[in-house]
Symmetry: C2
Subunit: 482 residues, 2 copies
Amino acid sequence: MKHTKVIDLLNNTKTLQEVTAKGWVRSFRNNQFIALNDGSTINNIQCVVDFENTSEETLKRITTSAAVSVTGTLIESKGKGQSVEIQVTKLEILGDSDPEKYPIQLRNRPSLEFLREQAHLRVRTNAFSAIMRVRSTLSFAVHQYFQENGFFYVNTPIITGSDAEGAGEMFKVTALPFDGTPRTEEGKVNYKEDFFGKETNLTVSGQLEGETYAMALGQIYTFGPTFRAENSNTSRHLAEFWMIEPEVAFNDLDANMDLAEDFIKYVIKYTLEKCEDDLKFLESRLLEEEKSKPQAERSEMSLLEKLKFVLENNFKRVSYTEAIDILKNSTPNKKKKFNYIIEEWGADLQSEHERFLVEKHFKCPVILFDYPANIKAFYMRLNENTEPGKETVRAMDILFPGIGEIVGGSQREERLDVLVEKMKALGIEEEELWWYLDTRRFGSAVHSGFGLGFERLVLFVTGMTNIRDVIPFPRTPQNAEF
Amino acid sequence: MKHTKVIDLLNNTKTLQEVTAKGWVRSFRNNQFIALNDGSTINNIQCVVDFENTSEETLKRITTSAAVSVTGTLIESKGKGQSVEIQVTKLEILGDSDPEKYPIQLRNRPSLEFLREQAHLRVRTNAFSAIMRVRSTLSFAVHQYFQENGFFYVNTPIITGSDAEGAGEMFKVTALPFDGTPRTEEGKVNYKEDFFGKETNLTVSGQLEGETYAMALGQIYTFGPTFRAENSNTSRHLAEFWMIEPEVAFNDLDANMDLAEDFIKYVIKYTLEKCEDDLKFLESRLLEEEKSKPQAERSEMSLLEKLKFVLENNFKRVSYTEAIDILKNSTPNKKKKFNYIIEEWGADLQSEHERFLVEKHFKCPVILFDYPANIKAFYMRLNENTEPGKETVRAMDILFPGIGEIVGGSQREERLDVLVEKMKALGIEEEELWWYLDTRRFGSAVHSGFGLGFERLVLFVTGMTNIRDVIPFPRTPQNAEF
């Protein structure tokens, strides 16, 4: 008979009917109670086995992660925390799972680190199935927000011939061999012989291409993989991660900040509504994890409180100049507790400063804007009427508690002459970006956009602390298994 | 004043109010009528300029693709094909577009080929803006279908250390230099020194990783970029394209075919409803294009008729064995009109055979299934009880008129011993795919999935004929511009 998903069985109030469920054994208690999970929800359905009429051999095969099919009567459950259970009349083992060999034994309390080496199996645990369902829901919320608001999804290229994006170190993409590499007469690598006839890399951002589409379709967004070949072995960096980059014609920086704040609140609200059970589980997981920490390091708010706090409060908008004043006069700066002491306007903010502003000073998400021009990218809109030596650009970063920078964006420089001069000063070839400059040559206009690192958002919403735990198969230095 | 999007102005029946619109000039007629477009819809809003009170200099700057802001009164239009227009009281040129330099002049009837070289600007034309809006809507329909049906979105890795996917030639991803490449003592490239500590490539499919997630979350799908380093300079191949790969635990091949057919019909229906104006435009574009073709080569159905036909008819399900019989007895086979004459069971079908089945014989989408084992991939489920030498696997391909193969899928081999034997026969290292085999070692079960090349779907829905015209920045041999 056709099987029913566990989530549908648990929501079913029509008892006494015959049902079939298929899934994986989470646990088997007293030779009688199977907790069966099929991934459709974090909740298991209890299947009560008629152990007196089931062979010893079959009972022995009901092990953690074995795949089984059970048929029986759906009845009201007398157990706690579950409305219905299945009184099993037929049990079939679809696929065994040898308990001597199955790597994830909960009684061994596997560490997150160990589970990363079992990335293909960790999603069978409660925590990782919850994280990945939340990730999926957040992804959909991203699409739904933009589509409902008249944005068009654009797939910018992954392999790029442009090396002027300037957001970081790039991976080379090539079909050339290391042995017998084709060479020019001067002995250089002859990229004309490569697949694309030129040097190509993996994209670090779809922004520049996205801008060309915004200047035609008005409002666009990307949501795709981006790459950094940086040797950053931290809990906040991945070599391959997913980025969301909206770009809007005729938006100035204020409208850009409004968009980012509204967007983030929407996707969190949507996920709170759709993933209640998963988030409650992750909340209790976090509480459990923090029990081993000293009081001072524990979160002040529970996971759900933290998410609701973000929804209910405005992000604090602070100019870079104001932020520098706050930091200069702050206790950790005066007492030289910061590793980098803030001495004057123009300093690049480090993560310790961002954390101080967000976690100690404002205690809410913060949008910093109007940064010094010389610490930001070439395409950002130069502010007018600034003092010489104190030029600023219409950049903004959104900082989140526990996460740090989650969004980086700006109003873009729409004036061809200013943009070209800036590129010249930085040694970026005009010919390299002829197509980007065309958007300023033909029908240029004010426009703005931002990038949001999707995994950092998933970190925030799930309460996890290592970015490798919120993407199915993390790519980091020395690690491309699976 | 805040501007209103063109799509909202055109749907606005509250006339006589003051409005502002911003966008790009599509055309300027009689020194008076601006057709203004902002990308929100294929339709322009007519802006009537008070030319007697506008300087000659300003009027001259109203050129194709110039960005302008107009403020004025929204009034009922007397013109044909538009309900409202703007009686302009204030006009501002935001960004000029020098008509001597702007590359896309419609009076020159730019070819699709020329426009490909202007991929950053072609989206400002009616045809490409329509295509890209349809593409965006189709993308969202994909996500919505799966999410509504309880599938979870999974981001499988783009950079892969696994070279056993076997779906085609791969691009190398590396941070090693061609000059002074680190070498082992034996003189081989020392990939231990590379970023990931091993040889890595761009993925050709997320299926194998997707399967591991399906065996935990039950129903999953991927939707991301995939790559082929094949020198195929055709109108149907890209080096970088987007693929959708659902995978479902406990689904057999029949359920897999049901899913694929239901999915395709859903996304087409959704797009027909949401993109009526764009599809009507593309339909007329196609009609226009086909006028230059001899009668015999023109489509029998208009674009919208074709799309509705797919919705209203069942896909014809035909076994490979039946298909071979049909082909063997077909007129083109007997008259030796095929380039590859079908002589016996076991032959691999060429695109000419697929086209005959779909376009001449069945005249509808066709699902071919149960292919000979030795022309299909190692992970496909071997059928039981077949004659020796006539082993088949539970594979299916969906063939579409004008497009050819749009879906390739299968029930997966869930039996560890059969799978291992198959891999051995093909020389695929077990150690290479230890994690994939784990899904068969621990809680294995029947499961199935398929891959759908997204650009082929966009081709079908938009009626375009070259795959380079349905992705923003196509990547093909010798081409990675932008």
